[in-house]
Symmetry: C2
Subunit: 512 residues, 2 copies
């Protein structure tokens, strides 16, 4: 995706437990991808007193930041966005620490106040999960943020000392935790949540969750479900799943908790407190599920830069952008992909009375048409399967799990094979299988009508009766390659999907 | 890998059974990859009489070639290399057919005589399997070619009417085949092989095999073995495996043969004849294995163009080129990769008395150093695993299966994880596990010594006793990032591999 204006943008996030450097390769407003990451467990909050951060913690943070800045220099980073959150914010000597970092390392470390921290988390989340109104919950190590969203923007945010690490240090001393400690945790969580003045205004609303704790709770559930996707995009964390996880965290001692499938061993000690915060929010808001956002604070900081030219740093159509971004980072062939989209759309619209699929299905078809050749970056041989793998791996922001799976399957079946939802039973049902067949038939037809990759066929005219579907190709010259390839490769699936013979002819006469 | 001089090169191969168009994206002498392919079952030989090709067969071939040429035009192909083999060569009306193709389609179809056909197969094979002296066997549909190789060049080649399809049509009429028919086949194969005047000069020599029949026999064996690799590069087809396959082909009726794992259903009818040719060659030459070449006639035609600037169109160091080609098509970061190679080589050489690995292992380390970041083209997250997958998928010409697996595993463990040959037991043994650990430790050390991606560490000085290994970094300025990252990420594996504490220091003093 390298373009003339591609930048390396680093985000440095000095949290209470962990310091992270992430580097994005980005062409603002066009496309971005993660290209490097360094994670250091700094434990900045460890040993903190009313005098502030401990000398040891300051030394650890300082060394890490020095290393980060040198890394940025040596790898020629164009932009560095560096922030510190609750530990530095809460520390009596936080300001002095920031000054020393500025002076000695020439690094401007911005302290985010609670509301700013909430804001950036929301920006990260809203660029991933479309949410017009509702609430966003972000659980970190030191603090947790709850924000109210109105008209797709962060309207008000509150920061509470409900971080997983902070709560664990304060309330959990036994292994496994005692019932009494759980009770105290729950009471404290509920108490703090009720200090939010606007809490009642987000009751029963859509909830989005972010941060490592929440991602880990989702990951545990995907392992239980044997999800076909490698991404958490669009994952719904339900109350039932949360309850099951909490029960096992309470029951198991640390050593066994560390072996839970999907749980990061270095979170096993603090995951319970975070999970109880999620449940507290569910109960306080009266909801029973949240949508995972894999984007959070760091992504929000980055995206404010990436969308700087917009009025507000959230893209209006998250789905449209996530599809384009994936196509762009894998260097798609724009002309070919756009022409396949066009033809697929024309076929879908004209054949609507026959297939009766909805507008959302048309959007899936459009996304799959844009992404169908993604896998050629791996190899031409089997590229349909590589496209499927790449979509499984990356996911697509803004789409549900069901939709991501359908898009992946459409790319899988865009040139050969019998559309089938086998292996996707945890996400798709039989009705989806029918949708897949219709859409795959249309996509395959569009692909082979653009086999010569030169937009020779510019439109289709369809006409049918009970027995036959006639498709006349509108082309400037006789589309010999397209007719040949479509007959062999696309018509059998069209015929079985639409239950009719398909007759193909061309408006332009053969040249010879 | 797009460069200013990238071309689209099409090879059209009109065979006795199948017509194929393959398109390579290539920068001659630099890198190439397959980017498109169309395969049509034309059955040119079907219905052939002494008057030549039948009218129906000519019509089918003509339509297919017209489609191929239009495809080349519409997709803006720079070079077309088109050939016809035995069916056209043997047909009384072959020349007339070629003239008509020239006139009507403006396509120059070159008829390869038997020796030329053998030559191009050999060029395809020698660019993939290093062979200084020996024999190359190419089994097609109509004919089979055997060539003698001397000093890495095709010296003499003979074409026999031992194609799988031709033999099947002539000898096999029962399903399953009768013992008598097998006997006749074996006699005819032996008879024809003994007509080659130089046959005795290649007795007991190395044998390389190519063509769809031979690839399919290998594929069946990889399925039996549950090979970790998705490629046939470097595969050895043994007499035992061949005998087992032949037994099942003889025993099973066609319908059951078609369900053999790894066998293409559209080859099930002709595979036995081809397998008997291989066995006949084994027996005539007194050998009991052959190395598979996945490259053959089409690749040879393409490579003659790709290596046009060389004295002879075979690259001298097949291994070197295959590693570079893979790196280039996936857009590797040359400076970083080369510096990791350099440091890995320095460590390997200096630590030789401790690890005692051989020159071939050093070459594997070098290849893995060049390829270690290949997977970043898929995603930064988990890129070590993506590198492994890409090597499994593509293979590496010139390397054995064991070597390809070791290179893939080295990339897998270049940044994290405990080197382990689990899942590779069919190819690697415990001793290889030890090699893997040494090489992975060295590669990981080299990678983290180049963490800042700016060649800050330009050399290492090593010194050891029974207790400790001291590594002093030679750098122009204090390599803070590299020391930090190497300590955390690379030293634990170095210490366990070399059984000593590892002490890291730097020639340049810290700057602060």
């Amino acid at each position: 995706m390298k373009t003339a204006t591609t930048q390396r943008v680093a985000v440095i996030d000095l949290g209470s437990n962990t310091a992270r450097l992430v580097v994005m390769e980005a062409t603002p407003g066009y496309a971005y991808r993660l290209v490097d990451e360094i994670r250091e467990v700094v434990r900045l909050r460890q040993g903190m007193t009313q005098d502030g951060l401990s000398d040891d913690a300051i030394d650890r943070a300082f060394s890490t930041l020095r290393m980060f800045t040198r890394f940025c220099t040596s790898t020629r980073t164009d932009v560095i966005l560096a922030t510190a959150t609750s530990a530095v914010r809460d520390a009596a000597n936080g300001r002095a620490f920031i000054d020393k970092v500025q002076q000695d390392l020439d690094l401007t470390l911005r302290i985010l106040d609670g509301e700013e921290e909430a804001f950036y988390g929301v920006i990260g989340a809203l660029n991933e999960v479309p949410l017009d109104g509702g609430a966003v919950l972000d659980i970190g190590g030191g603090s947790a943020q709850l924000s109210r969203i109105q008209s797709g923007r962060s309207e008000v945010g509150s920061s509470l000392t409900l971080g997983s690490l902070a709560l664990t240090e304060r309330f959990v001393s036994k292994d496994p935790v005692s019932a009494k400690q759980v009770k105290s945790l729950e009471q404290e969580i509920s108490r703090q949540l009720h200090t939010i003045p606007w809490i009642d205004t987000v009751r029963d609303s859509d909830l989005v969750g972010l941060g490592g704790t929440i991602r880990n709770l989702a990951k545990i559930e995907t392992m239980r479900q044997k999800s076909p996707l490698n991404t958490l995009h669009g994952f719904l964390l339900t109350r039932d799943s949360l309850d099951a996880s909490i029960d096992s965290f309470i029951e198991l001692p640390l050593a066994k908790r560390q072996r839970i499938d999907g749980l990061s061993p270095d979170r096993a000690d603090i995951i319970l407190a975070g999970a109880l915060v999620v449940r507290g929010v569910f109960e306080t808001l009266g909801v029973d599920q949240l949508t995972i956002s894999t984007g959070g604070l760091r992504e929000g900081l980055f995206l404010e830069h990436f969308w700087e030219h917009l009025d507000y740093p959230v893209i209006d159509d998250v789905r449209r952008f996530s599809v384009l971004n994936l196509a762009r980072i894998y260097g798609y062939q724009k002309d070919h992909a756009n022409h396949v989209r066009h033809l697929a759309g024309r076929l879908f619209d004209q054949l609507l009375p026959l297939h009766d699929q909805g507008a959302q299905d048309r959007e899936l078809l459009d996304a799959a048409a844009l992404l169908h050749d993604l896998g050629t970056i791996i190899a031409y041989d089997g590229h349909h399967k590589h496209s499927q793998t790449l979509i499984h791996y990356n996911g697509l922001a803004g789409f549900s799990r069901r939709e991501i799976c359908l898009i992946a399957l459409l790319t899988r079946f865009h040139r050969k094979g019998s559309p089938d939802i086998e292996g996707y039973e945890s996400v798709l049902n039989k009705r989806d299988g029918k949708t897949l067949t219709y859409l795959a038939a249309i996509l395959r037809m569009a692909e082979f009508l653009e086999r010569g990759r030169n937009a020779c066929v510019n439109d289709v005219i369809t006409k049918w009766d009970d027995d036959a579907l006639r498709i006349t190709l509108v082309a400037d010259e006789h589309p010999a390659v397209e007719i040949w390839e479509t007959r062999r490769n696309a018509l059998p699936l069209m015929e079985s999907a639409f239950g009719r013979r398909v007759v193909l002819d061309s408006m332009a006469a053969p040249l010879d």
